[in-house]
Symmetry: C2
Subunit: 204 residues, 2 copies
DNA sequence: CATTTTTCCGACCGACGGTCAACATGCAAA
DNA sequence: TTTGCATGTTGACCGTCGGTCGGAAAAATG
C-alpha cells in the first residue's frame, strides 16, 4: 500500500508547482497532471489533499530533524556550537519553502496559512526535544544557567520560527534582525552568559 | 456603501455559527441563512469570504486594542500593572473565540488554520506598539532594564499568543504554564527584575 | 495459461465561492 | 402622480474543487 517512489513522485509534483506559482492555491488535478498520473491515483496513495501537504512538509523537515538528532548526541561539541549548527540547518530548510515576497494576497490565502501553520507546528514539536537535550547538557556543564530547559527551548523555537517565516508577523529585514537580536540579548542575560556570547544566532 | 448594521448582522451570524459548530468549515450560504438574508447580499457588503473572517477577527480585537491604547497613555499607573491589565484583556478576548478542545481534525483544517493565523497576526501587530510604549516607559522609570523595548514586546506577544492559542503548538495545560513560567523567568532576569516580580503573567 | 491482487484512472458527484440580471424599495425631481 | 435614479436584495446559475467509484490495466501468483 505504500509505494514510496510513487508517493515521492506526487510530493515532487506538489513542490514543483509550489515553487512555480507562489501564491495561488493548488488543485489535486493539477498535482496529478504535474506528476503525470491520473487524479484517482493520487487518492490511492494519499487519503486527502491535506495529507499530501502534511507529507510534503514532513519530508522537507526530515533532513534538519536528522541533523538535530545527531547533534543532540554529540556531547563532545560545545552546546552553543551545536545550537548554532541546528539553527543553520533550520534556516536552510525553511528558506527552501518560503518563497513568496510578492504581494497579491487576494486569491485563497487559506491554503498558504495552512502550510505555514503546519511548518511552525512541525518545527517546534520535532526540534523541541533535541534542543532541550542540548540545553540540558549546557546546564550540566555550567555553560547555561536556567532551570527550565524545555521552556527555554520552546520559547526560542517559537520566536525563531515565527520571525524566520515572516508570514505570521510580516516585518522588514531590519525588524527581524532587531527582534532576533533582542531575543539573543534576553537569552544571554537570562542564562547568565556574557553579552555577545550568543551572537551566532544573529548570523544571517 | 457601508451599512454598518448589516455588516455587523453578517458578522454576528458567522460568530454564532462558529460558536455552535467548532470544527467544520462554514459556507457563505450558511452565513447568509443565519443572518436571515440572501447569499447575494453577503457579497454586497463583503468582497469575499476571507474578508468576512478578517472583519470578524478585527471586530473581536477592537475592545482589547482600545484597552491597550488607553493603558499606553495612563502613565500614572505602574508599567507592570498596565502590562498585566493588557494581558488580561487579551486573554478574555482570545478565549471567546478559541473554543475547540474536541478532537476530530478531519474536515477542512485549512479554514481553522487561517483563522488562527489571522488572530496571531492581528494580536501581535496591533498590540506591539502599545506594549512597546508601556515597556519604554518602564525603562525610563528604571523599572525595566533593557535596550530594545520593541523587540521585547514582540517576543512576549509572539510567545504568549502562540501558547495561549494552543493550536499552533498543541500542549497540555501544564506545558503551557511551564513555558509561560519560563518566559517570565527569562524576562525577570533579562530586564534586571527580582524573581517573582513578573508573576502576574502566569495568573490563569 | 487462468486467476487473484495491486495499481490506475477519469467520469461523476455534491458542495462551494462567487457572479449576475432582475427585481424591490425609497425618495427627490419634474 | 409619475418618472428616474440610487441603493439594496435575491436566488438561479457558473466554473471549479475535493473526493468517490466501478471497472480497466498491469503485475503477481499458481
Amino acid at each position: 500500500m505504500a509505494n514510496q517512489a510513487k508517493c515521492n513522485q506526487i510530493l515532487d509534483a506538489l513542490q514543483k508547482i509550489l515553487l512555480r506559482k507562489n501564491i495561488q492555491s493548488v488543485s489535486v488535478s493539477e498535482i496529478a497532471q504535474e506528476a503525470g498520473i491520473g487524479k484517482g491515483s493520487v487518492y490511492y496513495y494519499f487519503p486527502s489533499k491535506d495529507a499530501i501537504y502534511e507529507a510534503l512538509i514532513e519530508r522537507n523537515y526530515e533532513k534538519p530533524l536528522e541533523t538535530a538528532r545527531n547533534l543532540a548526541v554529540q556531547t563532545e561539541i560545545s552546546p552553543f556550537t551545536r545550537m548554532a549548527m541546528l539553527f543553520q540547518a533550520c534556516r536552510n530548510s525553511s528558506a527552501e519553502f518560503l518563497r513568496e515576497e510578492s504581494s497579491s494576497d487576494l486569491p485563497s490565502v487559506q491554503e498558504k496559512a495552512y502550510v505555514h501553520q503546519k511548518y511552525l507546528t512541525h518545527l517546534v514539536q520535532s526540534l523541541k526535544p533535541e534542543l532541550t537535550s542540548i540545553i540540558r547538557q549546557g546546564i550540566e556543564r555550567g555553560e547555561i544557567h536556567f532551570d527550565r530547559p524545555d521552556a527555554l527551548a520552546e520559547i526560542v523555537l517559537i520566536v525563531l520560527s515565527v520571525k524566520l517565516d515572516n508570514t505570521l508577523v510580516p516585518s522588514s529585514k531590519e525588524e527581524i534582525e532587531g527582534t532576533i537580536g533582542g531575543l539573543v540579548k534576553l537569552l544571554e542575560r537570562g542564562t547568565g552568559n556574557p553579552s555577545g556570547s550568543l551572537n551566532f544566532l544573529t548570523a544571517f
